[in-house]
C-alpha cells in the first residue's frame, strides 16, 4: 500500500514532512520517500492522502475493556473495535475485571482473547494488590512474564502508604511502572462530583480537589524515596499538575496522563444531573481545566489517555447518586486531542506525542513510531473533516459518551495495526 502525498508526522523522531508512506508485507518499507517509480509501485494499492496526516497508530494507556467478567458492558472484541475506529492501534487495559487481573492466568487470558478476537494490540496492566484489596502485593514477576506492562489498582487507590512503597520498590525488579489512581478515600468519602460552587448549588456531596492532590504528593515522595517509576493516572486538578511539575524539575521518575474530559469539560456540565458526566476523578472547575491545559502545554503532562469506562444503562440510567462513575472515550478522543493543536496548546508533534510515543515509552512497548523496517502501525487522519459525534454508530457496546452530539473536527480514516487494515472509513 502507498499513502501518497501525506503529511507524515512522527513525534518520536520529530519528523514533520510531506511524502509517501509505503507498506509492503505488513512492514513500513519507506516513510517520507520521494515516491516509488511506477515499476516499484506495481501491485500496491495507492491511496491519495493529500491534505491528510499519517501518524503512528495511537496508543491509549488507560482503558477498561471489562472482559473477563462484565462482557455486557464491553468485550475485548468490541473495545478494540472501538479503539481502531478512533485511530488507536494499541491500548493498555486496567485490571479491575472479574476476576481481577492479579495473576498470570488472567493476563494470559486477556492476551489470548486479544490475539483471537482483538482488532488492535492489547497490553494488560496487572494489579498492584491481590484482588485490588490494597493488602498484599500481586505477583509482579509472573504478571510481567505473562505480558503485563505495568501495575495499577486503578479504580481504587492504594491507601496503605507502606504497601505503595513496597510496590514501587518491588516493581523495579521487573521493570514495571506503577500507575497510581490518586485518591484519598477518606477525603473523597461519599462524594459524587467535584466539590465547589456547583456541588453546593446542586446539593450533591463534593470530592475536594485535595483528595487527589494529597495522594499525588504522597506518591511523588514515595517515588523519590524508592527510585521507582511512577505514573499518575487521570490528572484532574491544578494542585496535582503543580506538584508533578515540581517533582519533575527535581528529577523524580514520574510521568502522568490526563483525559480529554479533563481538558474539555468542567463540573458545570453536572447542572441537570445527567449521569453521563459522572466520573472519577470528577469533572473539575474551570481553573483546574486551565491548569491541566497548561500542564499539557509545558510537558508536565506526558500523555492523554481516555480512561474509556464502558457502562450499560443499568449502571447509568438511574438516580445520580447510584449511577456508576465513568465515561467512554475511544471513539471521541481524537478530535478533542486535535482541538488542542487548534487551541494553541502545542504543535502537532507535541500534541500527537501524548497519544503515540510518550505512552509507548512510559509502558515500554514497541509502538508509537513510524520507522522504516518496523511493523506498520499507523493511522490516516483527516484533521479538518467536521463530524457530529454519533454514539449510535459507536463500535463500543456502551453509549456513555459525554460528547454525544458534539460537532468536532478531525477523524481517523484508516487504522493499520501490524500491517493489517483494521479500520477503514
Amino acid at each position: 500500500m502507498i499513502l501518497r502525498s501525506a503529511r507524515i508526522l512522527d513525534p518520536e523522531r520529530g519528523l514533520d514532512t510531506v511524502g509517501d508512506v509505503v507498506i509492503r508485507d505488513g512492514t513500513l518499507e519507506a516513510v517520507g520517500s520521494p515516491g516509488l517509480s511506477p515499476e516499484e509501485a506495481e501491485g500496491l494499492e495507492v491511496i491519495d492522502a493529500g491534505g491528510k496526516w499519517v501518524v503512528p497508530a495511537l496508543v491509549d494507556m488507560h482503558v477498561h475493556l471489562r472482559e473477563p467478567g462484565e462482557e455486557y458492558k464491553e468485550t475485548i472484541e468490541t473495545g478494540t473495535a472501538a479503539a481502531v475506529a478512533g485511530g488507536y492501534g494499541a491500548l493498555a487495559c486496567m485490571p479491575n475485571t472479574r476476576p481481577v487481573n492479579d495473576s498470570a492466568a488472567v493476563t494470559e487470558f486477556i492476551r489470548r482473547r486479544a490475539r483471537e478476537q482483538g482488532h488492535c494490540r492489547v497490553y494488560p496492566v496487572g494489579a498492584i494488590s491481590k484482588g485490588l484489596e490494597g493488602k498484599e502485593l500481586a505477583e509482579f514477576g509472573e504478571l510481567r512474564e505473562a505480558g503485563a506492562v505495568a501495575v495499577s489498582d486503578d479504580g481504587r487507590p492504594v491507601m496503605d502508604s507502606l504497601l505503595m512503597r513496597r510496590a514501587m520498590e518491588y516493581a523495579q525488579a521487573f521493570d514495571l511502572v506503577v500507575i497510581s489512581h490518586a485518591e484519598d478515600l477518606q477525603l473523597a468519602r461519599g462524594g459524587l462530583m467535584n466539590e465547589g460552587a456547583v456541588s453546593t448549588r446542586l446539593g450533591l456531596r463534593g470530592i475536594p480537589a485535595a483528595a487527589e492532590a494529597v495522594m499525588v504528593a504522597r506518591d511523588l515522595l514515595l517515588a523519590e524515596l524508592t527510585g521507582g517509576a511512577l505514573h499518575i493516572a487521570h490528572v484532574s486538578t491544578e494542585a496535582s499538575v503543580r506538584l508533578i511539575r515540581e517533582a519533575k524539575s527535581r528529577g523524580v521518575r514520574v510521568t502522568c496522563e490526563t483525559a480529554p474530559h479533563y481538558f474539555t469539560l468542567t463540573d458545570a456540565s453536572l447542572e441537570g444531573f445527567d449521569t453521563v458526566f459522572k466520573v472519577n476523578p470528577p469533572l473539575r472547575s474551570r481553573r483546574d481545566l486551565e491548569a491541566v491545559r497548561e500542564g499539557l502545554a509545558d510537558g508536565t503532562i506526558d500523555a492523554v489517555a481516555t480512561d474509556h469506562a464502558p457502562h450499560s444503562v443499568l449502571e447509568k440510567d438511574t438516580e445520580f447518586e447510584y449511577a456508576a462513575n465513568g465515561m467512554i472515550g475511544l471513539e471521541s478522543a481524537l478530535p478533542l486531542v486535535l482541538q488542542l493543536i487548534r487551541d494553541g496548546i502545542g504543535g502537532p508533534l507535541e500534541i500527537l506525542a501524548k497519544v503515540t510515543c510518550n505512552p509507548a515509552r512510559i509502558l515500554g512497548i514497541p509502538m508509537g513510531s513510524l520507522r522504516a523496517g518496523t511493523p506498520a502501525h499507523l493511522t490516516l487522519i483527516d484533521p479538518e473533516e467536521e463530524t457530529v459525534i454519533d454514539v449510535d454508530k459507536f463500535r463500543s457496546k456502551a453509549r456513555n459518551c459525554p460528547f454525544a452530539g458534539w460537532r468536532v473536527k478531525g477523524r481517523a480514516l484508516l487504522t493499520i495495526v501490524d500491517g493489517v487494515v483494521r479500520y477503514s472509513l
Partner: protein
C-alpha cells in the same frame, strides 16, 4: 397571568414574578381551608401520585390534603428503598408509573436530582417534594408565604438561617427564593456545616450567632440531624446547642418583632429550645397551615398552567 411550567423542580430556576404568582395564588386558596366543607371541584378527574422514596409525614400529608381539597384522586407510593436497591431499573419504575396516566407526580427522594431525571421522562407534571440536599421548593414557598403574611413584605427583610446549611435542601431553596424576592440572607453555622464555596451564594456568612441575631427580622432555624456528630462534623450536640441553638437568652439580643421559623421536625433542646419553639415569636404552626395552601396553589398552577381568575 399564565404559568408556563410543566414542573416545579426548584426555586433556583423560578423568576420573581413566578414566585409572586404562586404566593398570590396560595393566598387566594387559603380561604378554602377555613370553610366548613373544605373541598372545591377544581382538579376533579385529575390524578396525583405521591412518590415518596424517603420517610416523610408532614410534607406527604400536606400534599395529600392539598390534592384532596382540590378534588383530585390521589395515590401514594412509599418506599424506603430506591428502584436500584429493589432490583428494578429506574427507567422501569418511570415507565410503570407513566402507564398509570397520572397528571402530577409529587416526588420526594433522598438522591439529589431525581425529580429532574424523572421530569425529563414523563409528560406528567413533576413537583419536587424534597430531593437530597438539593431543593425543597414547596417548603421555601410556604416559608415565604408565612413571612409575607406576618411582615407584609419580603423585600428588604433580613433573614437569618441558622444551622446545618451544608446538608439542607430547605436552606438552598430559601436562599434562592428569599434573595429573588429582595430579602437579605445571612447564614450562620460552624464552618463544618457550611457548603463548599459558600461565597458563591448570594448571602453573607457568620460563625457567631450572637453577632448576627440582632439584625434579623426573621430567624429560620434548621433541623440538626443527630448523625452529624458521628460524621465528625461536630464534637457534640451539647456544644452545638451552646453556640448555635436558638434559646431565650440569645433571643434577648433579637428584635422585638422577630419571627422564628422551623421547617420541622424539631430537635427541641438542640437547635431550638422548647420555650422558643412554643414562644410568642414562633410561627411554626402557621408554616404548617400555609403548607397546604402553597401545595394547593402548585397543583392548581401546574395542572391548569394559569393563575385562577377573579372567582377565587
Amino acid at each position: 397571568m399564565a404559568f408556563e411550567r410543566k414542573d416545579l423542580l426548584g426555586i433556583r430556576d423560578l423568576r420573581p414574578d413566578e414566585i409572586q404568582t404562586i404566593l398570590d395564588t396560595a393566598e387566594s386558596l387559603r380561604e378554602i381551608n377555613q370553610r366548613a366543607i373544605k373541598k372545591v371541584p377544581t382538579l376533579r378527574g385529575k390524578t396525583v401520585v405521591h412518590l415518596f422514596y424517603e420517610p416523610s409525614t408532614r410534607t406527604r400529608t400536606s400534599f395529600d390534603i392539598a390534592a384532596k381539597r382540590l378534588s383530585a384522586d390521589t395515590y401514594s407510593i412509599s418506599t424506603s428503598t430506591s428502584s436500584m436497591v429493589k432490583g428494578e431499573t429506574f427507567l422501569d419504575t418511570i415507565k410503570n408509573l407513566e402507564a398509570m396516566g397520572p397528571d402530577v407526580f409529587v416526588i420526594r427522594h433522598s438522591a439529589s436530582g431525581t425529580p429532574h431525571r424523572i421530569a425529563g421522562r414523563t409528560s406528567a407534571s413533576v413537583i419536587n417534594a424534597g430531593d437530597g440536599m438539593h431543593e425543597h421548593p414547596s417548603q421555601a414557598l410556604l416559608d415565604m408565604l408565612t413571612i409575607r403574611q406576618k411582615k407584609g413584605r419580603l423585600e428588604g427583610l433580613n433573614v437569618l438561617i441558622v444551622g446545618d446549611i451544608a446538608h439542607s435542601r430547605v436552606a438552598r431553596s430559601n436562599i434562592w427564593g428569599l434573595t429573588k424576592m429582595g430579602a437579605h440572607v445571612v447564614l450562620c453555622a460552624p464552618p463544618t456545616l457550611l457548603p463548599a464555596e459558600v461565597d458563591s451564594l448570594p448571602v453573607k456568612v457568620s460563625h457567631h450567632l450572637d453577632a448576627v441575631i440582632g439584625a434579623a427580622d426573621v430567624i429560620m432555624v434548621l433541623r440538626l440531624q443527630k448523625e452529624r456528630q458521628g460524621q465528625g462534623l461536630l464534637p457534640s450536640l451539647r456544644e452545638y446547642a451552646v453556640y448555635y441553638g436558638v434559646d431565650a437568652k440569645k433571643l434577648e439580643r433579637a428584635k422585638d418583632d422577630v419571627l422564628i421559623l422551623h421547617p420541622g421536625p424539631m430537635n427541641r433542646g438542640v437547635e431550638i429550645s422548647p420555650e422558643v419553639a412554643d414562644g410568642p415569636y414562633s410561627v411554626i404552626l402557621d408554616q404548617v397551615a400555609n403548607g397546604v395552601a402553597v401545595r394547593m396553589a402548585l397543583l392548581y398552577l401546574l395542572v391548569h398552567r394559569e393563575a385562577p381568575s377573579a372567582e377565587g
